[in-house]
Symmetry: C2
Subunit: 443 residues, 2 copies
């Protein structure tokens, strides 16, 4: 088919750059880059043919959900360079089933149909796997083909990004360097990158200082930068949109709700759904809700104020949804375009609201991390306000495994979390080891 993809300026400056080039911003305007596909070549295959191909590849012998859509992502990466852990093809759990973990939650919140896309049920326990498999595979291809000569892939991160980068780097046999501020990060936050053998450098500076160092190392060509402005990650993340449509029998839902801080994942949903529509695989886009924590809500404030251009930065306050505690989101321009294209809205959730949403979800049989709690709480508000209709089909993207948030769950049930009213806390009941006594306390 002769498919190809290149980096282009997101704002539209001239010029295109190979995906194997270590380039992170437009050389002309210093703005964001995007991955541009040869849509004319892709359109030579009909929507029906794409659907059949992708359905055939969703099978027991398929190694990866992301790479089962490889023509739409990075078509020039050869099979042997692909670094995969079996990411993607995660459950989409629906309230439409008589007995499943979303049923009671949907009924309590008044949804016609609520579905949870379980992106945390994956190798490193977060949505980040979807993007990191693409970034590391492209770098692997570039290094092995001689197009790129770096000593390591690097990021300044303390969370899911460093975990995913370290795992995929280890799988590829590529060195990984993680930079973080000394004394400001617990070893617990670093247990995944340490386990994967990443070189973890604790610098005598703050987080911004780490970013300055890693950018300078990248500028000198010593490391490849795996930060969130890199559009290769969005290419992988966009498959979540295609998978959701596929799991619904090639239908777009009415609404898609995603917790978002740096806003790259919201941009990825737009990229995935719009590519699927443009290639005739689905017939329309869902409406988008970007869900933010009230304590880190620059996009919410901008949207409420009618801002449609540059998003003013805020000082992000602590939130249990720590991965979206971001005051100056890198992908704000992309997310603004996504809101425009998808009839989107921005909503926010307070600490009590996100914790209450998690507790309700857990009692329904889900196990929701705080970010998914933000998304559920925001969806609840939109439903209560009538923005989401009673008969509409709503997909919430769950971005991480709650097994990463044991302290949060414990704190909730022990009622020790600051600023959170733990109305649904549950505690062990002490009893004597007497059968009659226990029989009185069974329900």
């Amino acid at each position: 088919m002769g498919l190809s993809a290149t980096f282009r300026c997101f704002r539209g400056c001239d010029g295109s750059y190979p995906l194997t080039q270590a380039i992170y911003r437009c050389p002309k305007c210093d703005g964001l880059l995007t991955v541009a596909h040869d849509m004319a070549a892709l359109a030579e295959t009909s929507g029906e043919e794409w659907r059949r191909l992708f359905d055939r590849r969703w099978s027991a012998t398929s190694p990866s959900g992301v790479w089962s859509k490889r023509e739409w992502i990075a078509p020039e990466v050869p099979e042997e360079a692909i670094v995969t852990t079996g990411e993607g093809m995660t459950p989409l759990v629906s309230s439409a089933r008589a007995a499943g973990p979303v049923r009671r939650l949907a009924s309590e919140l008044g949804f016609g149909e609520l579905l949870i896309k379980q992106c945390g049920t994956t190798h490193t326990g977060s949505f980040k796997d979807l993007g990191m498999t693409v970034l590391v595979s492209v770098v692997n291809h570039a290094v092995r083909s001689g197009a790129l000569d770096v000593r390591a892939i690097a990021c300044a991160s303390t969370g899911d990004t460093s975990a995913a980068l370290a795992a995929y780097g280890a799988a590829a046999g590529l060195p990984v360097v993680v930079l973080l501020p000394r004394g400001m990060v617990s070893v617990g936050q670093l247990v995944q990158p340490l386990s994967h053998g990443a070189r973890v450098l604790a610098l005598e500076t703050d987080f911004d200082g780490c970013m300055r160092v890693v950018r300078e190392l990248a500028a000198r060509g010593l490391v490849y930068l795996a930060n969130s402005m890199n559009p290769l990650r969005i290419e992988g993340q966009k498959t979540v949109a295609i998978e959701i449509a596929q799991q619904l029998g090639w239908q777009a839902p009415d609404w898609i709700v995603i917790p978002s801080g740096n806003l790259g994942n919201a941009a990825a949903l737009w990229a995935g759904f719009s590519m699927a529509r443009d290639l005739g695989v689905i017939d329309r886009l869902p409406r988008l809700c970007i869900a933010q924590a009230e304590n880190a809500n620059p996009m919410y404030l901008a949207f409420q104020a009618g801002v449609r251009g540059e998003v003013p930065a805020v000082v992000a306050r602590p939130t249990q949804a720590s991965a979206i505690r971001i005051g100056n989101p890198v992908s704000a321009p992309r997310a603004m375009a996504a809101l425009e294209a998808m009839g989107g809205v921005v909503e926010q959730a307070s600490e009590t609201e996100l914790a209450d949403a998690c507790a309700r979800a857990d009692r329904s049989g889900l196990y929701a991390d705080p970010h998914t709690g933000v998304a559920i709480a925001c969806a609840k508000k939109l439903r209560a306000r009538g923005t989401i209709g009673a008969a509409e089909r709503v997909v919430v993207v769950s971005t991480a495994s709650a097994l990463k948030f044991t302290e949060f769950k414990l704190g909730y049930h022990e009622r020790t979390l600051p600023d959170i009213d733990a109305a649904l806390a549950n505690a062990p009941i002490p009893l004597p080891a007497d059968v009659d006594e226990v029989a009185k306390h069974l329900v």
Copy 2:
């Protein structure tokens, strides 16, 4: 097709009992029960037809891997009673790929092909989901059809079993009771059942005392017992064997290695592979390795001593592989039969061996929990000894998410675990925030 399944005595006493009956032992000999299928009715469908049916059901719109094999499991449970979280269809990650998380590990250990079946990449983070979806669905069907009248489903457990039971019970809207010894269990071990709204009763007794109370409650008909002797769980767990064969293009591997304490999961592999062979879906059984922790090794000791009947109990010592710390395994008779049928062996791993296997696996890009470490360490020994040949294809079943074992990972890398030589420990490196200095420490 008129398919059916009933409880029968594992030793062969007369009598059969409906799956909806609350029965846990043979009423005649007090021995284990098994689920017996109408194999003649199942054999009316050819092996080729079963393969095609199961392949068609491994798709984007399939709600559950376990229930995609429903005719082989609990054919009389109606669709609307099935309680599912999307369990099964987990990745089988192979060293045969050029770049994946098993490649380096397999090469270091000298395997021809090593594959890891990622059963921890699932709703509650453990293999237990596979069995619990069946147990809770059958109970749900029995309660809703009026065949069973209980106030709750109950277990005496502090680990993965109580987490899975609580999640599936919540999804079904069935009350769940977890009994545990007061003061001997941390709240951290209970965070999943508490979150799912289970009633957690902390009794003034030890673990055996809790078992006595829960059995008496079951004998009085007050609760349904979800303990590990219940063969319904094995019916769900056996799908892991069928899935592995399916993911290999309907081939059995040469070896299957599983960490096992109570030995129900080893019995489940036998049940799944032998049913697939008997119905013409695969042409042979793999060889089985039961992997035990040296600190809880009754099956290993019995096997070494040539015992082929009753397994003498041992006092299990503490092990990082806490879920298989069992001295008197419930399913020992089943596991003995599995070893006999599958040309099986039993191997053991010390604390340092299991921790070293985890560390090597993690550096290869996996993230191995201690039980998977036991299995990898045992496979390594069999390979080194030549029991497993250089060209053989070996599948290791990973039974839990390592995200449940952060303390173990931290302890290893901080070198604080007792009795463990943490040769591959990795620690953050403190550095000044100076680009030239950092550049010297990139690899």
